[in-house]
């Protein structure tokens, strides 16, 4: 009887190694590579803006604290999710998210459309002690965000790295990253109006933590939470268009 062909492969270590890599590479290649080349994968959204330096710093705090472990940022195309959280998430909305924070678990609610749903003061109170505003909450307290001064001296480097991975920050934005971070949380200053100039009139310029004299981690995180779902209006426009069609 002819020897079973697999017996031959088993005698050749290098051949076996090559076979494993070849067989294992097929699936990932076919599923991932086209996502970069098929243009319909990510919608067009001309009004899409980048995160301001302060919002980016806030996003990094969101990552640092592991918020993504309990909160998703991806509303699925299911009726109950759309009714609970708002229009379902589009790919373009996380186009500038390096990395994405879609999440995998909802111990707390989805945050994809959290922006401007609550006041800054609510967020500050909630982050200091969630049970003060939602008695049943199991979220940790984040009181130290209010005490920690925000690190901004390296924000220019952050924006350069973002440029390197493809986020369209201009060199003017890079040069002014530190002032912009300060300005966004200090309304009625020259720096504040410069932020709105660079990132758009709709940019939130407020003393997010309630104290314009200090720039804290709380400022950054709340600035980030208030922009969630607000970088582009595409999802709302699309939802409205569907509604018109149905009527």
């Amino acid at each position: 009887m002819k020897e079973f062909f697999h017996r031959k492969i088993e005698r050749n270590a290098i051949g076996f190694v090559v076979a494993i890599v070849a067989v294992a590479s097929i699936g990932g290649f076919i599923e991932i590579a086209p996502l970069f080349t098929i243009h319909e994968t990510v919608e067009e959204a001309p009004d899409m803006r980048t995160y301001t330096p302060l919002e980016l710093a806030g996003r990094n705090i969101y990552i640092r604290e592991g918020c993504y472990a309990c909160h998703s940022q991806m509303i699925r195309t299911l009726r109950d999710e759309v009714e609970r959280y708002g229009p379902y998430s589009l790919a373009v909305e996380s186009k500038y998210d390096h990395p994405m924070l879609w999440g995998s678990k909802r111990t707390g609610p989805d945050l994809a459309r959290l922006g401007e749903k609550y006041s800054d003061a609510w967020h500050v109170a909630h982050l200091i002690n969630p049970r003060d505003v939602v008695p049943e909450s199991v979220m940790p307290k984040y009181g130290w965000l209010m005490r920690n001064e925000l690190r901004i001296d390296d924000l220019g480097e952050h924006l350069v790295a973002q440029q390197a991975v493809g986020v369209p920050y201009t060199s003017e934005m890079v040069d002014n990253a530190v002032q912009d971070a300060r300005g966004q949380a200090a309304p009625d200053t020259d720096a504040a109006s410069a932020v709105a100039e660079r990132y758009g009139e709709a940019t939130h310029v407020r003393a997010f933590d309630g104290d314009p004299s200090r720039l804290t981690e709380m400022d950054a995180l709340v600035a980030y939470l208030q922009i969630l779902g607000k970088l582009t209006d595409k999802a709302n426009q699309q939802a409205a268009a569907v509604e018109v069609e149905e009527q």
């Binding site: 076996f16 599923e31 592991g66 299911l78 009714e83 790919a91 994405m100 199991v138 940790p140």
Partner: protein
Amino acid sequence: MVSQLTISERQYALATLLLLGLGGLAMAAMGRGDPIAVHGYIVLIFAIGLSFVVMAGYYAPEPDKTRLSRYYDDPTKVGIVLSIAWAVVGMFVGVWVAALLAWPDLTFDQAWSSFGRLRPVHTSGVIFGFGGNALIATSFHVLQRTTRARMPGQFAPWFVLLGYNLFCVVAASGYLIGVTQSKEYAEPEWYADIWLVVVWVSYFLIYLRTLARRKEPHIYVANWYYMAFILVVAVLHIVNNLAVPIAWNAAKSYSLFSGVQDAMTQWWYGHNAVAFFLTAGFLGMMYYYLPKRAGRPIFSYRLSIISFWGITFLYMWAGSHHLHYTALPQWVQTLGMTFSIVLLVPSWASAGNALATLNGAWHKVRDDATLRFMMVAAVFYGLSTFEGSFMAIRPVNALSHYTDWTVGHVHAGALGWVAMITFGSFYALVPWMWKRETMYSPKLIEVHFWLALAGTIVYVFAMWNSGIIQGLMWRTYNESGSLTYSFIDSLVAMHPYYIARAFGGLLFLLGALVAAYNVWMTIRQSRMDAIDAGEDADIPLFARDAVQAGE
């Protein structure tokens, strides 16, 4: 242990530690004001500590040539001990984070102890600390036995084992101080990732070089799985961790990919970390220790081939089932679902092959808790792969995704399959390694078995209940056509299940503590006997000195 190294290997070790220490010093000096400096100090302390160990044995006489006719098992022994230590730490943190969801104020108002920072310490601690060390330790053992060849050098295995543990320490300590990429199961930052690549390449080379020296013409099936584990994890790790650091002296980096492409890459990685770390590697373990312990040959050689190539090919398509109904294009979701369902075939082929191997040895399963650990592991492997394929079906996933059901599923696999097969293999391996007839206490293995089984069942049932209730509450409509429950209603409903889950986890942790005690006592007994018999050749130098000092 050091006395078993040749003089030139001791010099290699010191030179490597010197370079490592300098690297740590550079990170500490250049990264002032950045968390990377903390990691610099950790690397430095690690290097200094180990160089003391090497220097303490530096002037011991060269080991004699007869060692080359035996297998080299010192790294396996240390790997077992490290694995169990990580199990205790990782599972303890697991119980803690479980308790945080029931009693959120157990953080004591510290930044490092909040759920978000502790959770990756738990996941990395058990997956990479416990699981990874177990895989390295057992793979060295299985590789040498099944090729009938000694590993080529004595330095490389130590570099892999200890270098890997440095990675684990940097990872876990990083989460506590807020260093994370946020990619699940790939949280460590760029410098830790690069270090792991270096370690991993050395690991692969040990495998290839030992295979090249094999006296057995055929490569045994356990090694196919260990090789797939090493190779594919390398590919996954490198691609998913591509990132641009903000500076060479800063910890923070930004992922090369964004949005939908990043999500797909992450879950291609995430799901195949399950496939090739938590499945392939441990199947390698199973294919050696289960037939050995049962004293039966593998039931079917052809079934092994089908399941091996099936798993290697199909798993890589399945990752997109983590992204059903999201902004990922639907064609990718459909592919992911389809392949996830087909995946059940090779998965059950493996589980069935393992259980059929026990035919004729069921009386041993009844009497021997060690073999029973392995049998139950195979059963849980079959159950959780079935559950996985089921949950990958889009409409099922609509209910289960984002809920505790996923957490329950993962733990059915992690506790029921990965941990059970590991403990079973350890209970078989530890007496062999330390030259004992049996473990210190077979009774304690029995105790551990029932603690582990009870803990797993309590945990999984609690999460099934909470997950399904959660999923149903989120989509319940009242008669007027609006959602019945607020989100917080669903959270309140979880409370009893979160307590039950923490209790289940606690039982499992107690089991791991029993295992740690049992292994420790077995090692101690072995040392005592060696001293009594005057055979102190394989006792570390410091222990020998201690005896002399007492005289």
